[in-house]
């Protein structure tokens, strides 16, 4: 992998002298970005481009080159790769499209390509990709011509399942003052996939954070493990979320959609920051390029009162606290300037000060005297003030470096592109208040995640999906089997007895106490209550006998389950399923309409940590109901958390279980009890 990003010799295949030849762009980019290794070009016709001779056959290049970059019609690629193999060129970037993303024929072509690659041990980037970029080594392999001026070296690396998106990220990260280290567009990921690139970049000394754009996630557990194995933040923009994007994603990079709820849950669990789009992805990277934000205390300094008011609204939305300024600070600020028209509030509105030196001084005083977790400095300026603004920005950069504390510098310039003013600055510059606060919040959330999940003596791997022994018979367990399984893992279960006939049922009910519920135990009765397989609130032995007889006449082969009725407690639902990408997943929701109508559920990938279980409970909108409302006592939260952890173990240790629902689990003031469960074995 290292030699893909640091090749000492490259051959570009598919180059011609024609002006509309695309592969020429690769040669040109390598030259303008200052690539210093050996460079060969191969095409159908001999010739020359930018001083690089075009050889008419791949046979003519030396054996053992580090990297082949192929941009030819798709059908030529397998044979070219065969030649690469023979010549011990064991790394290839295949930029050509027309493979599995396009047609069945293309899929076959891709299989042939991979067969060749595997036979020779060639590692392939793509096919259907455009970029490997390493600004540290002057490597720039996209075919669209890129200006070296538009990119800037920095700490962020990019992995994107779309060439166009990788270029958008390269350009935006550079403009935003973060800068780029390496980038790769992974295309159809026939061989190397996002986890491979991630694994490499997480070890790469030049990479301090990684922005990913994904349209599909193959091995979700591996992605989570990689994210949890590092303190370097991952920002992932996962597209292809809904109905509308599925077809196009399939035809774009052969990407299959994931369950978006589970993707979000897995990201939260693994400390991955999820970006909605390019804009917030880049804003997060900007925030993470600043010194870390370790709490919610924010001071806003603004030159425009309106911007300050708006910023206060947005800060509140992101959960920041605007602490009042202490009197001591007021004194400090008053000493700096005639303060008779400044109200010393937070946000601090400095609208009447026109001396930019003072802004930087106030920001500095603020950091040193108040030590807030972050400062947002909003600057609005007019065309005549650009010099002062640049000076101020440089001073702020210095303050950030000296104090090691985060100042988000947000510039609203009149006209043109505000960022041109700050090209030489060594810190990110925001152009919108929302972006600045999104960035600061991302840094704070990441720090909070590290503190909550990382502080217990290292990382536990979430592990790969266990492949256990599969039972011979797939199907649905009876409620008794399902409840027994749950009880075996320590999930509290309401007591029950099994009865073969009406008399046994009545005797059991006498022992358990009235009122009771009666349920048929039959693997045929999947939804028991829909087919008359459940009778509730039976008040005496006669009731029980009658109900038992009716039920057995409907299900002659079934046995009966007798349970005491539960008359208080809060109903919740626990569930489990196997996701194709993420493996066993635990679900939690409040009972009744909360899950069915409001889709108010939380997911986590198993195994859960205690912190995961706690977060799941907090995540459902209705969690306040557990604290007791309308005069009801609070529910036993600890019992719920233990049940979630037990369910997590159950799912991990029983890979043959495809689905499991505990519905309802009653939570009491003390303790809990599962009343019914449904288990589907695959």
């Amino acid at each position: 992998m290292h030699r893909i990003f640091y090749p000492q010799s490259i051959v570009v295949i598919g180059v011609s002298e024609k002006p509309d030849n695309l592969a020429r762009g690769i040669i040109r980019n390598l030259l303008t970005f200052g690539y210093r290794g050996d460079l060969y070009a191969v095409g159908r016709q001999p010739g020359e481009f930018c001083g690089v001779p075009i050889l008419s056959s791949l046979e003519q290049v030396p054996d053992g080159l580090d990297l082949a970059v192929i941009l030819t019609p798709a059908h030529l690629v397998p044979d070219l790769l065969e030649t690469c193999g023979r010549k011990s060129i064991l790394r290839a970037v295949v930029e050509s499209g027309g493979f599995s993303e396009y047609s069945d024929e293309g899929r076959q072509l891709e299989e042939r390509l991979m067969e060749v690659a595997r036979r020779w041990g060639i590692r392939v980037v793509g096919p259907n990709c455009i970029s490997v970029v390493n600004l540290e080594a002057g490597v720039c392999l996209p075919f669209p011509v890129i200006s070296p001026d538009s990119l800037r070296l920095g700490p962020a690396s990019v992995v994107a399942q779309s060439g166009g998106v990788s270029i958008t990220y390269l350009s935006w990260l550079s403009r935003a003052g973060v800068g780029v280290n390496k980038a790769v567009s992974i295309g159809n990921k026939a061989d190397l996939d996002e986890a491979d690139y991630l694994g490499y970049l997480l070890q790469d000394p030049g990479t301090e954070m990684i922005c990913l754009y994904l349209e599909s996630i193959g091995d979700g557990r591996r992605l989570m493990d990689l994210a949890r194995s590092t303190t370097r933040p991952l920002i992932v923009q996962k597209a292809n979320r809904g109905q509308a994007s599925q077809t196009i994603a399939l035809s774009h990079t052969a990407a299959l959609a994931n369950d978006d709820h589970i993707v979000s849950a897995a990201f939260r669990q693994a400390g991955i920051l999820r970006a909605e789009g390019f804009r917030d992805g880049v804003a997060m990277a900007q925030g993470l390029a600043l010194p870390p934000v370790t709490g919610d205390d924010l001071v806003i300094i603004s030159r425009s009162g309106g911007h300050a008011v708006f910023a206060a609204d947005v800060a509140e939305r992101y959960g920041f606290r605007l602490a009042a300024l202490p009197d001591s600070f007021r004194e400090t600020v008053r000493a700096l300037f005639r303060a008779d028209v400044i109200a010393l509030t937070n946000p601090l509105d400095l609208g009447v000060i026109f001396d930019f030196d003072l802004y930087a001084q106030i920001a500095e005083q603020c950091l040193r005297a108040l030590a807030p977790d972050a400062v947002l400095l909003i600057n609005t300026y007019s065309l005549t003030e650009t010099e002062g603004v640049q000076k101020m920005a440089r001073r702020v950069e210095q303050i950030v470096r000296e104090t090691g504390r985060p100042v988000a510098f947000c510039a609203y310039g009149e006209g043109g592109d505000a960022l041109n003013l700050y090209r030489d600055l060594g810190m990110p510059v925001f152009t919108e208040i929302e972006d600045a606060l999104c960035g600061l919040a991302a840094s704070r959330d990441r720090q909070r995640w590290l503190a909550r999940h990382g502080g217990r003596g290292g990382w536990e791997s979430i592990g790969s999906v266990a492949e256990g022994s599969r039972p011979s018979s797939a199907g649905v367990m009876t409620a008794e089997q399902a409840l027994a399984l749950c009880r075996g893992y320590g999930i509290p279960v309401t007591p029950w007895e099994v009865a073969a006939d009406a008399d046994e049922a009545a005797e059991a009910a006498n022992r358990l106490g009235y009122p009771v519920a009666l349920k048929v135990l039959s693997t045929q009765a999947l939804h028991k209550s829909d087919v008359g397989g459940v009778a509730l609130g039976l008040a005496d032995a006669a009731d029980v006998r009658r109900a038992a007889q009716t039920m057995l006449s409907r299900f002659p082969s079934g046995a009966l389950m007798v349970q005491p009725m539960i008359t208080d407690g809060i109903e919740v639902i626990l569930g489990g399923k196997r996701d194709p990408s993420f493996g066993p997943v635990v679900m939690f929701g409040l009972g009744g309409i909360h899950v069915e109508v409001f889709d108010d559920v939380a997911f986590r990938v198993a195994p859960l940590t205690r912190a995961d279980a706690e977060e799941m409970v907090e995540e459902v909108r209705g969690h306040r109901l557990l604290a007791g409302v309308r005069g009801r006592p609070p529910a036993d939260r600890e019992a719920l958390i233990q049940a979630l952890l037990a369910l997590s173990r159950l799912l991990v240790e029983n890979p043959h279980i495809a689905e499991l629902d505990i519905n309802p689990l009653f939570l009491f003031e003390r303790g809990a009890a599962a009343v019914d469960a449904r288990v589907v074995v695959s």
Copy 2:
């Protein structure tokens, strides 16, 4: 008002030769923006600036000038205004700060200023404001120096309760290809307020849409009426929404916070588009500058597959539909180019086409053949392609003009500011997919609102807040009085009888049928159920007698209300209150935890139209429960809507009612019944 935007003579007061003098900026802006009227400068010391002589006294300027622009220390302003009055200068823009936004002293100064203004009949913009701009007349009064190149004439006018924000809007609207017509920053609105400016701009021929930034809304009903009186769209960014911004908004423009729920509801009701920030405000203006979007059918054309996938996700979020392309269109497109590597899906990914002429042709074919409601054209390009891109953009502009259909052109350029390429273009250019879809959605929502609310023979004024006769005794009505009031307005009410003692109660219960509910009628028992004033589910006469005796022993002066128990139906809550800015407001929510725990409520300003009532019902998250879930029959929607309309009439016609709750109102399969009501009279 006209002469404020089109003054033929201006005096700027507060000018000096000193380089740090702020008022000089006003003179300079007027000169560079090509103002052609008479221009005078007044300052303490005589002198000259940019060829304009500085007079040392306001007495020296001619009488009857159209406009005075004042930027001096605050304490000088009242006397200056006095002189203006004497000299028949009857319009003033007061840019100075230090009035009610700053201190109590400032508030007194502002009162003095207004006293002078009223005495002379002077209309005042501000104080504490910076801009009146009219690009049609070369009027540019902000003191920060603005480059005429950075602004562009166009259809959008701006009204902002913050000078800094008005300048951000001016600059962004210009950059985004919309362009600005007029702008005013309203500051403390001591005299003229947002409604005054709106009233003028809605009549102004050059203004086709208006962007407002507000930190407080004074007369909400007038704002709504203005919005409903016009087909010109209003985009309002209402800041000062939460706890954090209140202090700073107060010290910035003396703005008081509004109830944000009600602001949002009123805006929806009046067809006002609410912007969250600058960015979506400008994106909405861009969308509205295109031909109208009249439905949800969208075609996305992209040059990058990744951008297409992301755009499809965002489009779905905004409620757009990506219809499949019919075979006939496939043929048309195939005829234009060798289509063997293009999958003809929607989004259409044209990644392998490098001929920009074709893009425009395909977009045109798409509009003509498919007639979608909108097209999103996403262009990604590299530095070598800028000429082709500009040509394409011009062609797209032409197509939009010819077809009268909206194409959102979204450009992701590599490096630099993409917008520089399109400075001369006569259409908005988006730089992000989210912005483009936000803009198209704003246009669609506006069209939908016009169709839904505007199609019934003109607008009905929502009217000002009625000032009716106040009853002598304020306080809480008894449940009987409250229910009788509701019944009087046609709200269905569960039957009841009033009883003075236990025997009468039992007789009433016999007549009404068991089970019954018993409630104490007392203006002392505000929350009846908390103090033992309610007994439910009484099964027979003995039960009733017992409950009545207990209740009367607690409330010796109270009478008793007997109601039959309602045992089915869906519980909802209707409410009403008086908002200081918006007057009578109707509230709706589902009963129980929906309002209390989930805050799932909808508001509308009374009087409601039928469409308003329908929208309220659809707006609560839980409205699906009304359609019948978990085997329950659907609720009578029409009865609910009639009850909301009746409540609206009740609130409008009884201005002495401060608060009203109908909790619960039961909805049956047919009909409805209010069971309890609470009315607070002010």
